[in-house]
């Protein structure tokens, strides 16, 4: 009877399997994988649940199962313990959440103070105390009074000649930049190589299940925070936003290590990290809602997990409150660069320059990404790869030297942005002469030069051996361009107040019609959208800066246009590009659209799979586990799928056996087969419970969707009971990165040859 139905058995793979398979399961960097598993095979398998090593991907289903078991165990305790233990459990979680929030708020404030002090130190020092920065040194003086307590280096060394003073200032400026940046690079290179760069690509990968514990170590935390302060103070073209997210995650990781419930469960740990990441953004921008939406949009961590979102929200708010409570500059300002005196309304004609800015943001954002990739590839394949310190010193010297020449770039980037966002107000100081209408063309020229310079410098700096975020320099580029366009529009309106397009302006020429400061905001949002390809979190962050509901619409339009234009120039944002270059097993949450392909095109067909034939000897199983470090193997009998068994379960099972019996005893994974037969061991309890089977005619995008939503490691394909192939997460990651030519270009870990 069976012969009649299954007469077409043609895939009857025999063991040993074909040799021309591909590595369908190695998320582990291959050298790590070997290391990990060769260690494993020689050590005891006393613990049921494996601990993951760096380079692995966690098994979400297993982690969730373990947590479920633990919870059940807690709740099944008798009497008061049954009530108290779950409560203690929740308390520990909230303890970590709240402490992380406070910690990152304090760290953010401390960083601000340190950066300000270091940056001021490049210009002079306080006579009554080395450790005061300029504002606190001069805090005893009234406004307008000249602060004599603060001495520039020229005054200190008593140099009388203007030329000598300028020379000295510039030399100190450049030298200290080099010293700061160099120290940061030395710290990073010798103590915590993972503290380099922004950290957001790694955090996205980790939240998706990648294991990289070294990235979150206390040492990394310390070096990243300290190095960040030095790097920012050195005046390099970088920001603190991304690294702050990294620092927040390190902090949560450190605190979570205190409790077994997180230490022993990678999934629970990741839920804490997600909450911490939101707090990092909250502190960086002083925008708690922006932090939550960043977690939602960019880190894609809260999908279907409102608990995690709520924790992220709590951490964000607590972090923002801590920062506000400490109030590092005594300004009671939470946000980095508050926008003030926004005029109430905007005119329809302004949409034209704003759309221009949006298009420019999209194009320049893509350009910045492309340049950055080029530089990263060049760095990897040139002599710079061996001399990261020299690169940092060289670039910081160059940056400082050029920056000193231009009035806008000489100050700290955050100060520049704050000034560019400011509207002209006769009662306030006119920063850098931006409000001088006679100097319009000079200003426009200088602003455009600043923008182009910052693009070039940022493209180079983002990826060097120092902590570096890309948000702030991007904002600076956008704000400069935006202010330039704003000045031009204002000039045009002042020159032709009677023109038809300007008829909506107030007739009184003393009432300003165009607000160039808001053009800077628009430019910044467009540029950010072009570089990061985020939408809603950017709008919320910038909305929290401006505070005016009426101005959300222009920001929204510019963000969207910039994203469209950017997507047309190149599909990926800067973080996705870096994830692809480093080859982290991360599935972007974007909707994948196939062109009619089915799963058959992406799956590894049965002919190229390493499979276990039911009924083989234990010795053959042993060989298999030694030969291949895949995560697991499908088990078939006459091409009919029996199940899927993971390699570590097999190793654990085989380790407990006498080596002598291995070659004689045979195995079966089917519970239906009798074990009365001699020499047959029933291994059916090793078979995984949760295995998804699909048909290979399924559209590719549905397969991708399942991997994205269910955090799967593999899907098996069957046709009427027979195994036809398998798709793993690696296959899907590769599929989604097909369009990007430099995938895996930087896949080695930093600091390792």
């Amino acid at each position: 009877m069976s012969e009649q139905h299954f007469g077409l058995v043609d895939h009857s793979n025999t063991y040993p399997p074909h040799q021309d398979h591909r590595e369908e399961e190695t998320f582990e960097l291959s050298e790590h994988g070997e290391l990990l598993y060769s260690e494993h095979s020689n050590q005891s398998f006393s613990t049921k649940r494996p601990t993951y090593e760096d380079g692995n991907t966690i098994d979400w289903l297993r982690e969730e199962n373990a947590e479920r078991e633990r919870q059940r165990c807690l709740k099944s305790q008798r009497g008061a313990r049954g009530l108290l233990l779950p409560f203690m459990d929740a308390s520990r979680m909230w303890f970590v959440i709240v402490l992380t929030g406070i910690g990152i708020g304090v760290t953010g404030a401390w960083l601000d103070v340190l950066v300000k002090w270091l940056a001021d130190f490049r210009e002079g020092h306080c006579v009554h105390g080395f450790f005061y920065n300029q504002p606190s040194c001069c805090s005893g003086f009234d406004a307008g009074e000249i602060c004599t307590d603060w001495q520039s280096w020229g005054q200190y060394l008593d140099i009388q000649y203007i030329l000598g003073q300028s020379l000295l200032h510039s030399v100190v400026y450049v030298a200290l930049a080099v010293v700061f940046a160099g120290s940061a690079a030395i710290l990073v290179q010798f103590y915590a190589p993972y503290a380099f760069h922004t950290g957001i690509p790694e955090i996205k990968a980790i939240l998706g299940g990648y294991v990289l514990d070294a990235f979150l170590s206390p040492w990394t935390l310390l070096i990243k925070a300290l190095g960040l302060a030095l790097a920012v103070a050195s005046g390099l073209s970088l920001g603190k936003e991304g690294p702050l997210v990294h620092v927040a995650c390190c902090m949560a990781y450190l605190l979570s290590g205190l409790f077994k419930q997180f230490r022993h469960n990678e999934a629970q740990k990741r839920k804490l990290l997600a909450a911490a990441a939101a707090a990092g953004v909250s502190v960086a921008f002083g925008s708690p809602l922006g932090g939550v939406l960043f977690g939602l949009e960019e880190l894609d961590t809260f999908a279907n997990e409102s608990d995690v979102m709520w924790r992220g929200f709590v951490t964000s708010v607590i972090a923002a409150m801590s920062l506000q409570y400490i109030d590092p500059f005594g300004t009671a300002k939470l946000v980095l660069f508050q926008v003030t005196s926004i005029t109430d309304t905007w005119r329809a004609f302004e949409l034209v320059p704003w759309l221009l800015l949006a298009v420019a943001g999209g194009v320049l954002g893509s350009l910045l990404i492309k340049l950055n990739v080029r530089v990263a590839l060049y760095r990897r394949h040139s002599a710079l790869n061996d001399w990261p310190l020299l690169e940092v010193v060289g670039v910081s010297a160059l940056t400082a030297a050029i920056s000193y020449l231009i009035v806008f770039t000489r100050v700290q980037t955050s100060e520049l942005v704050a000034n560019l966002f400011q509207e002209c107000d006769p009662s306030k100081t006119d920063y850098h002469g931006l409000c001088n209408p006679t100097a319009m063309w000079e200003n426009v020229f200088l602003l455009i030069v600043t923008a182009l310079l910052k693009i070039a410098l940022t493209a180079w700096t983002f990826g060097m051996m120092i902590p570096a975020g890309i948000f702030l320099p991007t904002i600076a580029v956008g704000a400069s361009l935006g202010r330039a366009v704003g000045l031009l529009t204002q000039g045009l309106q002042r020159a032709y107040p009677g023109a038809w397009v300007f008829s909506s302006c107030p007739p009184d020429p003393t009432v300003p019609c165009v607000s160039p400061g808001f053009y800077a905001v628009i430019g910044a949002s467009a540029m950010l959208a072009g570089v990061t390809r985020m939408t809603i979190s950017l709008v919320v962050i910038l909305f929290e800066l401006t505070g005016a509901l009426s101005h959300v619409l222009p920001i929204m339009i510019s963000v969207m246009t910039a994203k469209w234009v950017g997507d047309a120039c190149g599909k990926d944002g800067i973080y996705s590009v870096w994830i692809a270059m480093r080859k982290y097993p991360w599935l972007p949450p974007v909707a994948y659209r196939d062109k009619g392909e089915t799963a058959a095109q992406v799956m590894t067909p049965i002919e190229r799979l390493v499979i276990i034939e039911d009924g083989c000897t234990l010795g053959e199983l042993d060989n298999l586990t030694r030969k291949y470090n895949f995560h697991g193997f499908p088990v078939v009998r006459d091409a009919e799928l029996v199940g899927y068994v993971t390699r570590d379960k097999l190793i654990e099972f085989l380790f407990a056996r006498e080596p002598a019996t291995l070659s004689t005893r045979r195995c079966t994974f089917s519970s239906r087969r009798s074990t009365a037969e001699d020499n047959l061991e029933n291994l059916s309890n090793l078979v995984e419970e949760a295995i998804l089977q699909l048909r290979k005619e399924q559209p590719q995008e549905l397969v991708v969707d399942m991997f994205q939503k269910l955090n799967l490691r593999q899907i098996l394909f069957t046709h009427e009971g027979r195994l036809t192939g398998m798709v793993t997460k690696t296959d899907i990651v590769a599929l989604l990165n097909l369009h990007f030519p430099h995938t895996a270009a930087l896949s080695e870990l930093p600091g390792r040859p």
Copy 2:
């Protein structure tokens, strides 16, 4: 060889299947289902894709497939058409989005104006124009001047005696309440029965895939908006928030009907509705971010779909801006009840009364839900079921009569809440004597009476035959309680200013230490959390009211405590309870935790399934489709799973056959079987491509998770190729509603006997 492996065949079901199956596929209300399918079997099956009728659940996979095909078709057009058509496609979507935003903003403003006019009409009228409300009638007068243009009814009829005036006023007050509420009920009952209630449960079900087009018809839109204005003006204990969400969805549905791309695709239509729902909340509370987070948390629509979230954000902002632009009251206030003059800081001892309020909110919220369920069940099973109009008239008369007696309830609920949120300020009007310290006990007593009264009235009103939202009355209950507790705390602090607990208060007794207005906010947030069980969206909405970051923390703590207490008293929020009572096929997005059960406990085992045996005659298939209106049938051969075929595909196939051939020809669904054999028709192309197979040992919560995340209709369970059972969405919905005793208590549709 096969005999050896498959010797345990014991499930060999023969056709016809057992009769003791359960209806595993009827989402369709059974009478509808019959109707739908009997119509179908007699009409042509020329169109490939079925149109869904009310009561069905859409097939997401099929809809997404159709959209994918359409997109591919658009993009494959040659030349300019290939560029233009996708652009036009996107433009249509944005056209609907923007127009819905503007529409709901305008509707919100218009509703405000109408309600104000109707409510003022209960007190008097304007002498120089019937259609002016009190503020616009008196707009020519200076502050302090007595407005002679506005005449109360007593002045109009020239009644001199105070007693007569009072009597007249109260009679007009009650009579007009009855007239307004009665008109609303008549409109709803005779023209649009779906316009009753809040609408949020239905919208949640619709967004999850339920088909209920009558709920979104233009007629419902009109009646709901008009009826809502009348109901709110009648002074019944209800709010406009939920109904506004419904109105927004109706609007989006109406506009989406203009374009084929939405008319013919239920999934695309639902994505528009999700965006519109966010806009409804945005207008109701003047809180665009709150709207987005409401969509995210309560409607669970944006999970993994950042496009949809972005659209929701755009619609929310546009709606809020339209409302602000129209500015119905000329106050330039966007939010319903802006909180002003919040003191900068709060003291630690205040956490004690706030926690008390949070616990009270959780308990009373649960009580309100339980009362509301009781009333709904009583209404259904008593004579009231046949006299909905009478019920509305009676309750509105009662509400008006009682409300007139208490100073707090006589005004509109929104006005009451605004006053309760207001801090005492000597320079402003003292509403209702709330700021009079000598009347503290009277105020506390009256506030508590108000709260209890509102709970009772709301529990009855929410579910009557009128449009009614539950947000505003809940806020009113919470605010009354909160203000009462605030007054008590303030009184305590004033009585014992030197006590140890109050040592953190400023020593100067004239400086206020306790702000009772903020206690009202805390009370409102706790009560809302108790009733709706939302968290983050509530905090954001209330944060947008207060605007002070420092006050987010107490709001957060109270929301969370209230939710915890509420969950301990009863698991479901008010909307979930109504969904369960109406038996909509909606899966709550909550994480389901099993107690160690596997899928085997929830699945229908093969013995109780209606299955198709491969090789049966076409006549048998025909019988099957006529006998059972399930969505589809698994196909097996000797218990081995061949595939799954939907009923409508079978009907379509059979309809094209000659009736005479049905009894002789046999069918196979296996592509492996040769059709050379006579009388064998190969139906393998009817088999569904996307069928999920799992093992029945899989933990139940993973099965639930898959249904929640992948929008599935069914999962098949196999063991080594053999079908062991099936789980459908209905099974999962039933599983998640097991704890609720009144599931399906109101499952008939309103207005149908």
